[in-house]
């Protein structure tokens, strides 16, 4: 019994609370990235390898707009819009010709896009990371730590964007189009829905969500050209764990994995904490290959 009591005493409760907050904040950002990814996959069977690069470009555009106008919110909106337009253009030029070919071609093309975009960013902005200043600098006291309100704001904003998007899917006219196309592409076409444009639109929305999360996340870490790959990897894990093409599952998986990683970082370095999400992935693949947060398939 002594050992058990000792174990409970040795748990750092204050750190647990702090890491729970951190986990939820990064989880919400990750959910924002992953929901774009899972949406694009669900509707057109495209795994968007370049999603992380859209995230990264969003952050860079945010840096530039913030530097010229000084307004964080303007940066957020302009970055989302510009990346949405870029995403639509990329979809029309590279993915549309591949419609009807083996879906593996699309992962190759988006991989090529990510290569080009990442190296463009490196070439244009250089290897050193840029900083986005937080729009709100006030803190509140959490144990011995001054916890920034901005982080709470990120979580709330991400939740609002995802929630708004969910409502749009549920009740908006074009949202119904998107759901119809996801369910049955051919039937939707027959009912007069312009399926190719729905695809383009969804790609643009996903890109905008990635860009928005890039700008929101920018103040927490620096903005540099390699941030895309780290995030797309995490988002891939989330999408597989949450069940491909499943929006609610991705959100749940994003928060779950981020929480686990935050807790793990109490005891190990952040670089090693990544292994926790890998372990979750392996266990998911072993026992529930269709995803943790989906109903058991019949």
């Amino acid at each position: 019994m002594d050992a058990v009591a000792h174990f409970f005493q040795s748990i750092p409760y204050d750190q647990l609370v702090i890491q729970t907050m951190n986990g939820i904040v990064t989880g919400m950002i990750l959910a924002l990235v992953a929901s774009g990814l899972t949406l694009i996959f669900g509707i057109m069977d495209v795994v968007n390898f370049a999603h992380g690069e859209l995230f990264m470009l969003g952050a860079y555009i945010g840096v530039l707009v913030l530097a010229s106008t000084g307004s964080f919110w303007l940066a957020l909106i302009i970055a989302s819009l510009m990346v949405a337009i870029l995403g639509a253009a990329l979809q029309i030029v590279t993915l549309r010709p591949l419609l009807g070919r083996d879906p593996l071609n699309t992962i190759l093309v988006t991989f090529g896009l990510s290569l080009v975009l990442q190296n463009y960013a490196l070439w244009q902005f250089g290897p050193s990371s840029r900083k986005i200043n937080e729009p709100i600098t006030s803190h509140f006291v959490l144990f011995y730590l001054e916890y920034p309100w901005y982080r709470i704001l990120i979580a709330v904003l991400s939740a609002m964007i995802i929630g708004g998007f969910w409502l749009f899917l549920k009740y908006g006219k074009y949202g119904v189009w998107i759901r119809a196309t996801t369910q049955d592409r051919v039937m939707a076409q027959a009912m007069g829905i312009p399926v190719p444009w729905v695809h383009t639109g969804v790609f643009a929305i996903g890109a905008a969500m990635a860009a928005a999360s890039g700008v929101l996340f920018g103040p927490l870490v620096g903005v540099n050209h390699t941030m895309g790959l780290d995030w797309v990897l995490k988002a891939f894990i989330v999408v597989v764990v949450g069940g491909m093409g499943n929006l609610a599952g991705s959100v749940a998986a994003a928060i779950f994995i981020s929480l686990l990683e935050s807790y793990a970082s109490i005891w190990m370095s952040p670089a090693q904490a990544v292994i926790v999400s890998f372990v979750v992935l392996i266990l998911t693949l072993l026992f529930r290959p269709t995803g943790l947060f989906v109903p058991t398939p019949k």
Binding site: I107, Y120, F278, I282
Partner: protein
């Protein structure tokens, strides 16, 4: 194996030579050129050619998955890197360093990684397979990168090149030309083995998995087992490429376990032509040549991956058979 392959007589081409004869004539001609190459090329291009062969072997190994089994691996850097670190372990731990031990250790390392990846990833199909191989290769990267006491972390490991030995008979120091010949011999042998494998009944099953997995399973083949074996086989040859790279460059670094190497491997395949085995080597040569050309023309800092990435995208859309497939179609016209 329950079904014997259909033994059709080889179709004849216009000149009246069988395909087989044409193949062997072509093979010998290319081999002769590559054997003579180090004698006439300057030092830089000699090394360049050797490296192209090594990248070609890596690409060829991944072609077994992409072109024949129909699974795109974005994780070949793990096998390549484990091959490298395996060779490094043998060369650093055993003295005097032994070439064959290095190859053995490298293959064992790659086989371990491949078994791990194969066991988990083959539960998933298509895109899911691609993603999980990528994620698994990152696991190995993180482990190698952070386990500094053993792997040297960011700095990697440095060792000296072993002698070329035939046990009890022959022992000689490697020169840049003899490294080239050794690499050439290994790559050529690997090519012939892989060619044989893809034409064997086993290879036919792999291709039928590519064409129609559900039907292959319905006929009664244990598809998962075939997939695991093909990933293992592919991983072994990728590991062999890693060993060769380690021997040529006398170091092992975590950069070579990183995703970028896997990405390059896929690019080599698409550029050269998937499902051809030779194509990926051509693709590797094409890629490295363009890269070298661009850095000579525009300076070292030039982001060569931007134009190469654009070429890659254009090729997927308009030239999905790759250079070799295109050339073949053009020749047959």
């Amino acid at each position: 194996m329950t079904i014997a392959p259909i033994n059709k007589p080889m179709p004849l081409n216009r000149a009246g030579l069988s395909h087989n004869a044409v193949f062997w004539i072509g093979f010998c001609a290319v081999m002769a050129l590559l054997i003579v190459a180090p004698l006439v090329l300057p030092e830089f291009w000699r090394r360049f050619l050797t490296e192209v062969l090594i990248w070609g072997l890596l690409a060829m190994s991944s072609d077994l998955l992409i072109g024949y089994t129909g699974m795109i691996s974005f994780g070949h850097s793990a096998f390549f890197g484990l091959g490298m670190y395996g060779a490094a372990a043998a060369l650093l731990l055993v003295s005097p360093p032994n070439l064959w031990l290095a190859i053995g250790f490298g293959l064992a390392g790659a086989a371990g990684a491949a078994l791990f990846v194969a066991y988990f990833s083959t539960r998933l199909r298509d895109i899911y397979f691609a993603i999980t191989t990528l994620i698994f290769s990152q696991i190995f990267y993180v482990i190698i990168f952070t386990w500094t006491p053993v792997t040297g972390g960011e700095n990697g490991l440095i060792f000296t090149r072993p002698h070329f030995t035939i046990p009890f008979l022959y022992d000689v120091r490697f020169t840049t030309s003899s490294v080239h010949w050794f690499v050439l011999a290994v790559v050529a042998a690997s090519y012939l083995i892989l060619r044989r494998v893809t034409r064997s009944p086993f290879g036919m099953v792999l291709q039928s998995i590519r064409e129609n997995e559900a039907r292959t399973r319905a006929i009664g083949y244990p598809v998962e087992r075939y997939k695991i074996v093909s990933v293992m086989l592919s991983g072994l040859f990728a590991g062999l490429a890693g060993v060769l790279y380690a021997i040529q460059n006398e170091f092992a670094a975590p950069d070579f376990v990183y995703f970028l190497i896997s990405g390059d491997t896929v690019i080599f395949n698409v550029m050269g032509g998937i499902g051809t085995l030779v194509g990926p080597i051509v693709g590797a040569g094409f890629f490295q040549l363009l890269r070298e050309l661009m850095s000579r023309l525009f300076g070292d800092q030039f982001p060569y991956l931007i134009p190469l990435g654009l070429i890659f995208i254009v090729m997927i859309i308009f030239l999905p058979q790759g250079l070799l497939g295109f050339a073949r179609r053009w020749l047959n016209r």
